[in-house]
């Protein structure tokens, strides 16, 4: 349904500025979003420095320290956590009634969800860059050009994980259930990916099933697409999978919030 551009932009501004102001108000959120990956980078990576011994694999053209290897995975972690946070925000909004306000605005629902997704992604990407900057301070830098080249991939990956968060928010009805979601979604996605070690290591060690699952994990491809982009290369398959998952997750989330067919309707609870 066509809505005037001015209306669409104002609504986007409304949703985005609310997300940003909430983020700023919750002072600890940026800190906790950064402490997590920094712990991995500074403590974990230091401890495992010599255990893993990463050989030369694309996109790297030389031996790299383990810290450098895990930067893209930790960027993914930042995006993943914030994406799930957007799901938490939806559940919170539903409990606080703000969701009603959004859903009764004279705009197509899919557009409102899209505005939510963009706003959440904006926060994800900002946090990812703050993490890159801090990593650089710790001496774990990526090529300067990589900062720019990674931007579109970070946006797409952030949107894909945010859309997954939106999709989960259709199902997760209460805030209390959020911790469970974290355990069942965030950790498997993170560990079954090349965030901490290249996937061939899994294959080499004979963990075939895990290797297989990891290859089908959308997060794997977000990390790989980011890794290649940071070094000025394109990972076409990973990028395509990220975009494909983004479209599918978003479509399913819109379906879930549709008043006609949605899953909300079936579960019977008010929006």
């Amino acid at each position: 349904m066509a809505i005037p551009m001015k209306h669409a932009l104002l609504a986007l501004q409304a949703v985005a500025s609310r997300e940003v102001s909430k983020f700023v108000r919750q002072g600890g959120r940026l800190a906790s979003a950064l402490v997590r990956p920094l712990l991995w980078l500074v403590v974990f990576a230091a401890g495992f420095q010599n255990v893993f011994g990463v050989s030369i694999i694309p996109p790297y053209d030389t031996y790299i320290p383990y810290q450098v290897y895990i930067v893209p995975g930790l960027l993914g972690m930042v995006l993943l956590f914030n994406g799930m946070q957007s799901s938490l925000a939806m559940v919170y909004d539903r409990e606080m009634g703000v969701m009603r306000l959004l859903l009764t605005a004279p705009l197509p629902r899919a557009y409102l969800l899209f505005a939510k997704l963009l706003a959440g992604t904006l926060l994800s990407v900002i946090q990812a860059y703050v993490f890159l900057a801090i990593a650089a301070v710790f001496g774990v830098g990526v090529p300067l050009a990589g900062w720019l080249q990674a931007f579109p991939v970070l946006v797409l990956s952030g949107m894909m994980l945010g859309a997954l968060g939106l999709l989960l928010s259709v199902r997760v009805k209460q805030l209390e259930n959020f911790a469970g979601t974290m355990n069942f979604v965030i950790f498997p996605m993170f560990f079954l990916s090349p965030a901490l070690y290249p996937l061939w290591k899994l294959e080499e060690s004979g963990a075939r099933v895990i290797h297989f699952i990891a290859q089908w994990n959308p997060f794997t491809h977000a990390v790989e697409a980011t890794r290649f982009a940071l070094y000025g290369q394109v990972a076409p398959l990973s990028l395509a999978i990220v975009i494909g998952c983004l479209l599918v997750f978003f479509w399913l989330a819109s379906w879930g919030y549709d008043p006609q067919r949605g899953m909300i309707k079936r579960s019977g609870g008010p929006g």
Binding site: M1, I3, P4, K6, H7, L10, A11, Q13, A14, S17, R18, S21, R25, M96, G97, V98, R100, L101, L102, L103, T104, A105, P106, L107, P108, P259, Q260, I264, K265, G268, P270, G271
Partner: protein
């Protein structure tokens, strides 16, 4: 943008709507109308289906059967047009407590496509009208329950809706605030706004142009307060209401 829309017929037309949650039928074919400048009270005991009806009227869900039309726009076919013409005050408070009054209203204005000076002007007008202009910069958290409701009413009016839906809007308010809110809403009639005021409190329905009594998912009576009293042969609207809704229906466990 709420352009002037010269729709002359009933502002709100609900025809034979049905809604079931699983096997429980919450609405069993409900019809009602609200004309321009008319204040219609929707009276019903708790559990009568008022909240479900409001969810259908605000497009949160679609009815299983029947139609909801706002100024002739079908909520199912053209939800965006229909939603643009209604203003809603929900039963549950939907303000962001940590934002100022103005920031809350601005959020709503933008969702309705109003920005810049136009929004600022309308927000100032609405606050002035409800005599809460002096609280504009305060955080909502610092406001009393009555004033929070006024802010929500102001918000519902910013985009100049043709129909105002009030869902148990006086819940939790003291009698004075309750009266004040009701008077404000009654005052909107002169501007041609149609109001549907849902409540389980009979005294709020006494000033209504028309009363629709909803009970167990059905409209059991409809008319002016005096005609309902006459029809039921009682002395007051409260007695008529009690007679109509009878002993509370037991829902099977």
């Amino acid at each position: 943008m709420a352009e002037w829309d010269p729709y002359g017929g009933n502002l709100l037309e609900v025809e034979q709507v049905r809604k079931a949650y699983g096997s429980r039928e919450a609405l069993k074919g409900v019809s009602l109308q609200v004309a321009p400048g008319e204040f219609v009270a929707l009276l019903g005991p708790n559990g009568a289906g008022k909240s479900t009806l409001f969810q259908l009227l605000t497009g949160l869900f679609n009815a299983d059967a029947g139609t909801v039309r706002v100024c002739g726009c079908d909520m199912r076919e053209v939800p965006v047009k229909a939603l643009g013409r209604i203003g809603v005050v929900f039963q549950q408070m939907t303000l962001d407590l940590d934002l100022s009054v103005v920031a809350n209203l601005k959020f709503h204005a933008r969702l309705h496509g109003l920005g810049g000076a136009e929004a600022a002007e309308r927000i100032a007008d609405a606050l002035e009208r409800l005599s809460i202009a002096d609280r504009a910069k305060d955080r909502v958290r610092e406001l009393s329950g009555g004033n929070r409701r006024k802010v929500e009413l102001a918000r519902a009016l910013i985009h100049r809706p043709r129909v105002l839906l009030m869902d148990e809007a006086t819940v939790g308010l003291d009698p004075a605030s309750r009266r004040q809110l009701l008077d404000e809403v009654l005052g909107l009639r002169s501007g041609g706004v149609g109001v549907l005021w849902a409540s389980h409190l009979v005294d709020e329905a006494e000033a209504a142009d028309r009363v629709v009594v909803l009970h167990a998912g059905k409209v059991v009576a409809e008319g002016t307060p005096s005609s309902l009293i006459a029809d039921m042969g009682t002395d007051s609207l409260a007695e008529a209401f009690l007679k109509l809704t009878g002993p509370p229906e037991r829902t099977p466990a």
